[in-house]
Amino acid sequence: MTENSDNYSAAGEVGAVLEKRTFWTRLKIDMKKSPWTARFGMLIILFYAIMAIFAPFIAPYGEAQVFATPYAPWSSEFIFGTDQIGRDIFSRLIYGARNTVGIAVATTLLAFLIGGAFGLIAAIDRSYIDQAFSRLVDVFMAIPSLIFALVLLSIFGSTVLNLIVIIAVLDSTRVFRLTRAVAINVVVMDYVEAARLRGEGLGWIMRKEILPNIMPPLIAEFGLRFCFVFLSIAALSFLGVGIQPPTADWGSMVRENASLIQFAQYDLKAGLTPLLPASAIALLTVAVNFVVDWFLHKTSGLGDEQ
């Protein structure tokens, strides 16, 4: 609007043929208005995604390939040296993007599937089912989820599948709360009533009538939930009860190379090695937080004021 303010006429704008913006033009406009933090965040996420998808082509060595010298220093052959049994740390960092982030994404998706479905059912139903689910979730949220996860892992054992299911179920309680809270306001709308009267089933009402209207808060929650899941999986792997070796994973890599830190006085690079996977975790969480912040600002309607 500002660029042609000299020949602007309101009648002209109203009279002009309304062009429907395609998805890409809308995306372009959104991108133009985005703050640098959000752009930086998206760039980082894109970078991680490329690393995860093309890991076997980018990494110079295999993730479990063992070389002769353990704890090799940084060199042109091994960019970040080798770990305690002689695996290339640079390659394991790249594969870690695939394993750690991949498992976290799968867990978050599962948590949303479980929590979202039950949350919608509870919001539509509002009878004893709603009561039962809500009280159960209250109890689950009364204990810290890390403690809960530790108890469950000791029973079922630390496999990747168990890890995904346990963390997903524990985190679905938060998704349930949010979905139920936002869906309750939509369920009472007239068009939902109309759909019910025309005889649509529960599945249709959930997917076609309610879900599209509660998407923005759910997408923002997806980003935040991903950070929580990602950090708890990293913490569990760091504690040695999460993702098991020889799978390359950032949490366990920190623990395995932690002893190098005491040599920092003699070789700073060696001291920095255990911090590399840890900072990979931190960078991704910061990036996702930046993007979620911008998304929340945009969908809350405050973004249009500038």
């Binding site: 009364a142 890390l146 403690i147 809960f148 108890v151 913490a235 504690l239 700073l268 969480t285 937080n289």
Partner: protein, 326 residues
């Protein structure tokens, strides 16, 4: 009945009910183990009689509700069963009571959590209130950015950065926090400095942000504006008008973060090899020593529920609307 008493009794009942369900969940841990776990614990060479005796000792020949009552009953008397480790196929039992394992470590964990709380609570309250008062200033924005970044970092990242800086490059503090019962107090504080500092950094960020949000919320309410318009000074507004309503949110923030400390302590204890309950629990999970896991989980759960309950109650008894009903 006074409305305050009624609400407090309600909360106490709710807390007890939660604790009951949680104890059932923790108890059923042993229920969900696969059928042949006796063999797995005692080793392949265990005879059938030894396994049968082991199962009888755990009471697996009795119905579940009986065992639950026994478990809760003995937990109340300070008996959490015996550890799985130290048992072997020959039937000789070298295992130790779970309570003997937990008790000395619980004191260590409480010491670490207490030390952190003493440092972190005043700092975060001052930071939170001051950044709420001078909101949108450079000071506020700096504090905000720094704390937002700290929140996004995993605890072990913060811990290792501190080790790198304060133990390895500039050896000020020891990187291993190995304390035992005979360590004198000053030495103990010195050795726990790094773990306490890590936890402080993590929870100050949370606590400061929550305090700031609570105070801003309060300062935006119309009655504060009214007090300002009637000519009250800044100090008067805060002490006389804002603070009575602020106790509840501040207490909630503190209790919530002390409860968060319960979780943070697990990771930090492992990093610094600090002999606390968190480390014991992680070791027990790795070796699948269920009685120890149950004991630790019960202690963590009780602490967590208790702290949240205290926050609720402080919120209720300082609420002016409940204290002076119409």
């Amino acid at each position: 009945m006074h409305p305050v008493t009624k609400t407090i009794l309600e909360r106490l009942g709710l807390g007890l009910a939660t604790l009951f369900v949680v104890s059932i969940i923790i108890f059923s841990a042993i229920e969900m183990l696969p059928g042949d776990f006796g063999q797995a614990i005692l080793g392949q060479a265990a005879t059938e009689e030894t396994v049968a005796a082991f199962r009888r000792e755990l009471g697996l020949d009795q119905p579940a509700y009986m065992r639950y009552l026994q478990w809760v009953g003995s937990a109340f008397q300070g008996d959490l069963g015996t550890s799985f480790s130290g048992r072997n196929s020959s039937g000789i039992d070298r295992s130790r009571a779970v309570v003997d394992l937990i008790a000395p470590r619980l004191w260590n964990t409480l010491f670490l959590a207490g030390l952190t709380a003493v440092i972190a609570v005043p700092i975060s309250l001052v930071l939170g209130i001051s950044s709420a008062l001078y909101r949108n200033s450079v000071y506020d924005r700096t504090v905000n950015t720094v704390t937002l970044t700290t929140i996004s970092f995993p605890e072990f990242f913060v811990a290792y950065i501190l080790i790198l800086l304060l133990a390895s490059l500039y050896p000020v503090f020891p990187s291993l926090a190995n304390v035992d019962g005979s360590t004198p107090l000053f030495e103990r504080v010195f050795r726990t400095a790094l773990p306490a500092l890590t936890l402080t950094l993590v929870i100050v960020a949370h606590m400061m942000r929550m305090t700031r949000a609570a105070i801003i919320n309060l300062l935006a309410s119309p009655y504060i504006q009214m007090a300002r318009l009637s000519g009250a000074s800044q100090i008067e507004v805060i002490v006389k008008h804002a603070l009575p309503n602020a106790w509840a949110p501040i207490a909630t923030v503190i209790a919530f973060n002390l409860a968060y400390l319960v979780v943070g302590v697990v990771v930090v204890e492992v990093v610094f090899v600090y002999p606390g309950v968190g480390q014991l629990m992680v070791d027990a999970v790795t070796s699948r020593d269920i009685p120890v896991v149950q004991g630790c989980a019960l202690i963590f759960a009780i602490t967590y529920i208790l702290l949240n309950l205290i926050a609720d109650i402080i919120g209720i008894i300082t609420n002016p609307r409940l204290l002076h009903p119409k």
